[in-house]
């Protein structure tokens, strides 16, 4: 065993590495001796929150993960679902929150790179990227820097690798001031009979390292993501990795070329905790041992220690177990793409991971207890603070003024400034670009199949009622997919919360998962992959710590058997514009309440999952048979914002009737009642009859046509004015 340790290994060092006294005690009993410096590093990253899910695992298990169309659920690098014709969609969403505050460009860029690898490592060509971004208050001086860096980073990476960025969502709230959220999602497509898994097999088989060289970047990144920020957060910049999308592009092509052969036994990307987690997980899942000789690891810097190499999070690297006689065939492919290729070890029957460096054994750890005895916590929970009840409402501005303010507000303003920096057309398969439909639509090349993709969460609902908010996020993703005509298949989740050591945060987490699970079950919309990001806190100089809003972001995927049937927001002239779903005028936690009255009060709108399913199934059927020509779900801002967005998306205007609703105008027009759709049809009467038969509440809103939006008052807002107000926010914030 190597005696070279830069520091004595003891409980104090373990604490510095993020292990509790009890966890360090377990390390000692597993090892039966004091671990080496490198071994302690391996335990600390494998048992970090980021890698071990120790606070969340017990609850994640309650989520539904199966359906007849699910091929691989959670546990692999990404989720896999059957999309027909022998093809599978492979997808996952992952956070890169902490690095994105410290170094927004590289944090976001490497977030995109990491999630791409999770998908192509399973044999899929990535065909779409999406994201879910949360930033601090627009007025906070940091926000501009972070938005700028994150948007450039997402674009810089995705544009270069040539995967279109087709969708996403953005919110602003002061709770994200010191802790933005960058959640990136990748969707890929593979043949079902060519899906690659990570479980290593075959004692003696070579272990191959490919991709970029290993440097000292990102050491202990996983443990950084598992603790709160303090005022020294920016001093942690050296722990942020640096991405190289050019190498990633080469790696995608080289891996897919190798995957077309039968040379690969198992493959996994080196993500968080790099070489450690990939080797430990691959060998652990396969029930074999693994010997690595770090002298053979391609290195970017001289004099790196075993500890540094095992914990480095250098990007664009993969670990592959090959069939024994295929090494030269594989080497030739990586030579062609000018990528490093090195045999760095082999599989053994010892059940241990053994790390050698310069002739010395630097680590020798039994894999089974490293995985099985990873800590699992049932941390205490406490009920979250209930929102203030709503004050009686007096509308101070009227419908027209409120609409203008809403469509220009940070959460509803046009995102074109952002998505116009993302290449959304590369690949030539983008059927609906950002903003054109409720979900992005991407065609699967050489087929008629379309995938409908969306990311959704309403954090203000989650803060007011985490269980309802968790369910609503799932339902909204389902609704957005449905609104294009696609059949929702499955979700990936990205659970962003504050510190699990705060009982009220842990309570939010447990409640949100309960709500998500309920909605997933009710809608047959299982969770097939995901990621948890905890400790999203900012510590102020006075020692208090602020948690982010609970943000269980949902990435949804649906399928269209014939992509030509998809609809978007754009309405032709001369259609009846109808509202499907029940309107109660619920303004609690609404954007209207926040933007017009400055209040964040009340319960979020109710969610009836049976009605959700009934309304959605009705809409989908009518899109499929061509009855519905345009469709938009009703979400933030309510019905009037939905209609206005449809007007702004196309050529036709809309003339609205006076609603015979018996409720106050602001409640009718801006209430955020769930499970509703605004649709355009040729014959509203016939539609109403069909809706009545299906038990779906239906009412006419008006008729498409004209040059702008004509309100029931008779006042017309021109399309130019709507667009001007809608597109003002981002340029004003960013281009000053």
């Amino acid at each position: 065993m190597s005696a070279k340790s830069p520091r004595p290994v003891d409980a104090a060092l373990a604490r510095e590495f993020g292990l509790t006294a009890e966890e360090y005690g377990n390390v000692l009993s597993i090892m039966g001796r004091t671990p080496t410096f490198t071994e302690l590093g391996i335990f600390s990253v494998m048992w970090s929150e980021h890698c071990s899910y120790k606070s969340s695992r017990a609850f994640l298990k309650t989520l539904p993960t199966t359906a007849p169309w699910v091929i691989h659920g959670p546990g692999e690098n990404a989720g896999v679902v059957d999309i027909g014709h022998g093809l599978a969609a492979i997808f996952k969403m992952e956070s890169h929150n902490h690095p994105s505050f410290i170094e927004p460009y590289q944090g976001a860029a490497t977030g995109v790179g990491g999630i791409l690898r999770d998908v192509f490592t399973m044999g899929a060509r990535p065909i779409a990227n999406l994201n879910a971004l949360r930033f601090g208050a627009p007025g906070n001086p940091q926000t501009r820097r972070i938005v700028d860096g994150v948007v450039r980073g997402v674009g810089g990476y995705g544009n270069c690798v040539g995967v279109p960025t087709v969708g996403g969502e953005i919110n602003f709230h002061p709770a994200y001031d010191g802790n933005p959220l960058v959640n990136a999602m990748t969707v890929g497509v593979a043949r079902q009979d060519r899906i690659f898994l990570s479980a290593a097999a075959g004692v003696g088989n070579p272990v191959i390292y490919v991709g970029s060289k290993t440097g000292r970047d990102g050491i202990h990144g996983a443990t950084m993501s598992s603790s709160e920020f303090d005022e020294d957060a920016l001093a942690k910049r050296p722990t942020v990795q640096v991405g190289d999308p050019f190498v990633e592009k080469l790696l995608i092509e080289a891996c897919l070329e190798l995957m077309a052969t039968d040379a690969i036994v198992a493959i996994q990307d080196m993500g968080a905790a790099g070489l450690t987690s990939s080797s430990v997980e691959m060998a652990g899942k396969g029930g074999v041992g693994i010997d690595l000789d770090l002298d053979n690891v391609p290195q970017r810097e001289r004099g790196m220690t075993a500890y540094e190499m095992m914990l480095s999070e250098s990007q664009e690297r993969m670990l592959i177990v090959l069939r024994p006689d295929r090494t030269e065939q594989a080497r030739a492919i990586f030579d062609k793409w000018e990528l490093d290729f090195a045999v760095i070890g082999h599989l053994t029957d010892t059940g241990n991971i053994v790390i050698r460096h310069k002739g010395e054994v630097e680590a020798d750890i039994p894999l089974a207890p490293l995985a099985d005895q990873a800590p699992v916590y049932h941390r205490p929970t406490a009920p979250a603070l209930r929102p203030q009840p709503m004050e009686p409402i007096i509308d101070p501005v009227g419908v027209e003024q409120a609409l203008i303010r809403l469509i220009g507000c940070p959460d509803l303003a046009s995102r074109a400034w952002v998505y116009n920096q993302y290449d959304s057309t590369v690949g030539g398969q983008t059927v609906r670009r950002p903003g054109a439909a409720d979900a992005a639509i991407v065609k699967v090349e050489d087929t008629e199949i379309g995938l409908a993709l969306t990311t959704d969460c309403t954090p203000r609902y989650c803060r007011a009622n985490a269980k309802l908010g968790g369910a609503q996020a799932v339902a909204e993703a389902w609704r957005n997919i449905t609104a294009t005509g696609a059949r929702p298949l499955a979700v990936t989740d990205n659970l962003n919360f504050g510190s699990p050591e705060k009982p009220e945060v842990m309570g939010q987490f447990v409640d949100a998962i309960a709500g998500m699970g309920e909605a997933c079950r009710a809608l047959d919309f299982p969770v097939v992959s995901g990621n948890v990001s905890l400790y999203n806190e900012t510590r102020a100089p006075d020692g208090t710590s602020q948690s982010i809003l609970p943000t269980p972001a949902i990435g949804g995927l649906g399928v269209l058997e014939d992509v030509r049937t998809a609809v978007g927001l754009e309405m032709p002239d001369g259609c009846d514009v109808m509202l499907l779903g029940e309107t109660k005028g619920q303004l609690g936690q609404s954007i209207w309440l926040r933007e017009i009255l400055g209040a964040q009060d009340g319960e979020p709108p109710e969610l009836d999952l049976a009605a959700e399913r009934r309304n959605g199934d009705f809409v989908r059927g009518l899109i499929q048979n061509g009855t519905i020509i345009a469709c938009h779900d009703v979400a933030d801002g309510g019905v009037l914002v939905a209609v206005t967005e449809m007007v702004m998306a196309g050529q036709a205007g809309c003339v609205l009737d006076a609603p015979q609703s018996g409720m106050r105008p602001e409640a009718f027009w801006f209430g955020e009642d769930q499970s509703r759709y605004v649709i355009a049809v040729r014959d509203g009467q016939a539609l109403a009859t069909l809706a009545a038969q299906a038990g779906v509440p239906c009412r006419r809103l008006g008729r498409s046509g004209g040059q702008g939006l004509t309100l029931p008052s008779g006042s017309t807002i021109s399309k130019a004015r709507l667009l001007a107000v809608h597109s003002e926010f981002f340029p004003r914030l960013m281009d000053r």
């Binding site: 450039r152 544009n159 270069c160 993302y422 057309t425 059927v431």
Partner: protein, 234 residues
Amino acid sequence: MKAAIVVFPGTNRERDMAIALRGVAGQAPTMVWHRETALPAGTDLVVLPGGFSYGDYLRCGAMAAHAPIMAAIREFAQKGGHILGVCNGFQILTEAQLLPGALLRNAALRFLSQDCFLRVERNDTPFTRHWAKGDVFRTPMAHGDGNYIASADTIRMLEDTNRVAFRYVAEDGRVDAGDPQLNPNGSMNAIAGVFSENLRICGMMPHPEDLVDPLMGGEDGKPLFTGLVEALVG
């Protein structure tokens, strides 16, 4: 028509281009790796597609201009061969000095991915014969470095000899090089594409290959490929 698409490390729109060419030619183009030293026998058209060749880490296109395949492409050009360079391909053609000028960072210093309108400046070339002179068509653009620049003499020469292929314009064909809405990347004289002296090499920044199917939002880019196939099949 036999088309060859050159693939450099980092090229990423080669499949888009292949789909567009296959759609009109009925024949899949050949992919040619950058390390090859010869073009496939009987090549009628060489296409340099979009992407980030060699990561664009030096100047866009600067490394690719010295790739092994480029000697064969120069020879092809000297013999009067037809070459289309789109986006990174345009940048490569300028770096290889097969076309005049250079492409700088977009004026707003941001990547731009949006639709733009192009005006066809002449239609007596294989690239533009399926349009009328003055036709305006919509096409996606997606680049960080598309701001066309050349010396005053070169610009004058290009204008005097009608070698501007396409210009960024308003939907009604109006040119205003000073308006970032109409000339989004700030190109001199709103130039979006240029021809070689013999009109057989064309470079352009936007991506007509991504708008050749109504399903993707239109067929505005298709005449470029239809014209090429007609002209080169003879």
